[in-house]
């Protein structure tokens, strides 16, 4: 598995031909309960649903592309629910990295992350969203994190521009 595209909106498969495209509207996944029992049993989640395989894919791939609506300066709710399930990819124990405590990811692979945020977001919300991407691990360690914002009606055009980014 090389690349993974996760989207909360229907997109054409032509844009990212070298990736697996996961449309959150077409999969079934439960909401994380936050009990952290997955950390106690070596990354095995209580829920056996579509997220089991998607978590594995996110572990194995090198480039992740998230296409999400930006709401309240954050990922939209279905997307945030998906991200919360990725806690399963963390180690329970804490490690100091650059003087800060954190849970390391189980995957040693450093990934590239591209986030395309769409919807009506104010400048403050866009900045907030970028802060989330900079400060949060979102389940993995990344070698580069990039964000791009556009209006919902511009999304297809933007995806056409970014299409092929997964080819290498």
């Amino acid at each position: 598995m090389k690349n993974l595209v996760v989207t909360d909106r229907d997109i054409s498969t032509d844009f990212f031909q070298n990736s697996v495209i996961v449309n959150l509207n077409n999969i079934h996944y439960s909401t994380c309960t936050g009990g952290l029992s997955c950390l106690k049993c070596e990354g095995s989640c209580y829920f056996k649903d579509d997220m089991s395989i998607i978590s594995k894919w996110t572990n194995d791939c090198q480039l992740i592309i998230y296409i999400t609506r930006v709401k309240y300066g954050c990922f939209d709710i279905p997307f945030k629910k998906m991200l919360e399930r990725l806690v399963v990819n963390h180690e329970p124990y804490y490690t100091m990295v650059d003087g800060e405590t954190c849970h390391l990811g189980l995957s040693q692979l450093r990934k590239k992350l591209l986030v395309i945020g769409y919807g009506q977001a104010t400048d403050a919300e866009k900045k907030l969203f970028k802060d989330i991407l900079d400060d949060s691990t979102l389940g993995f360690s990344y070698s580069s994190v990039d964000a791009y914002f556009c209006e919902e009606d511009e999304l297809d055009e933007v995806l056409r521009t970014f299409g092929g980014v997964d080819l290498g």
């Binding site: 909401t31 009990g35 106690k40 709710i77 919360e84 804490y94 802060d131 389940g139």
Partner: protein, 194 residues
């Protein structure tokens, strides 16, 4: 005297982690206001939200940011006629640095601004999984008393607290996880025997 709502808005099982903080805050506020109501995500009613003078959001962060359950509450409140409720937050994270709660606070603050509510501040707590089992619980209790005073007097309040040093944190935290992992393994073995 005011009507106050303590809203435990985190993910389902993180509400257990928040319980020590919630119950203390409940005690500190109980006889100092007209009405003190405690709600969870499952018992929360958006129609009554703006009837309270003050609402305190309590949640444990999820993947370094605000939990989806709290975002759902924001969404449910969108269609409600707005009041002039004051908003406070008690945000907790499992890491040593309470600064990990900053993003969640900013999102909450941004929502308050958008909905024209008065954001009055927060108490951010680091090492939240086990801080109440260590000597630092006295510091936390003190901060929570200060928060409850600020709520009662309608004052702004911004503070954070965590364990004494990161070395103590690392020791205690890894001990905690060792114990939890062992407990889980034991439970698994028991289940397999059955």
């Amino acid at each position: 005297m005011a009507k106050i709502l303590l809203l435990n808005s985190g993910l389902k099982h993180t509400q257990t982690f928040m319980k020590p903080f919630l119950s203390r805050l409940e005690v500190y506020l109980d006889d100092r206001c007209d009405c003190l109501d405690v709600r969870h995500v499952s018992t929360f009613d958006e129609r009554t939200f703006f009837q309270y003078d003050q609402v305190i959001f309590l949640f444990f962060i999820a993947l370094d940011s605000i939990p989806s359950s709290t975002l759902e509450i924001f969404e449910r409140l969108e269609s409600q006629p707005k009041g002039s409720t004051e908003i406070y937050a008690l945000i907790a994270c499992d890491e040593y640095e309470p600064e990990k709660c900053d993003i969640s606070e900013k999102i909450l603050q941004n929502w308050c601004q958008r909905e024209q509510l008065h954001y009055k501040g927060s108490l951010k707590i680091g090492s939240a999984l086990f801080i109440m089992k260590t000597i630092s619980r006295f510091v936390v209790s003190n901060e929570m008393k200060r928060l409850s005073d600020a709520i009662i007097h309608h004052q702004d309040f911004y503070s954070k607290t965590t364990m004494l040093t990161d070395r103590i944190f690392m020791k205690k935290a890894n001990q905690y996880w060792n114990k939890e992992v062992k407990k889980m393994n034991k439970l698994k073995r028991k289940r397999q025997k059955r």
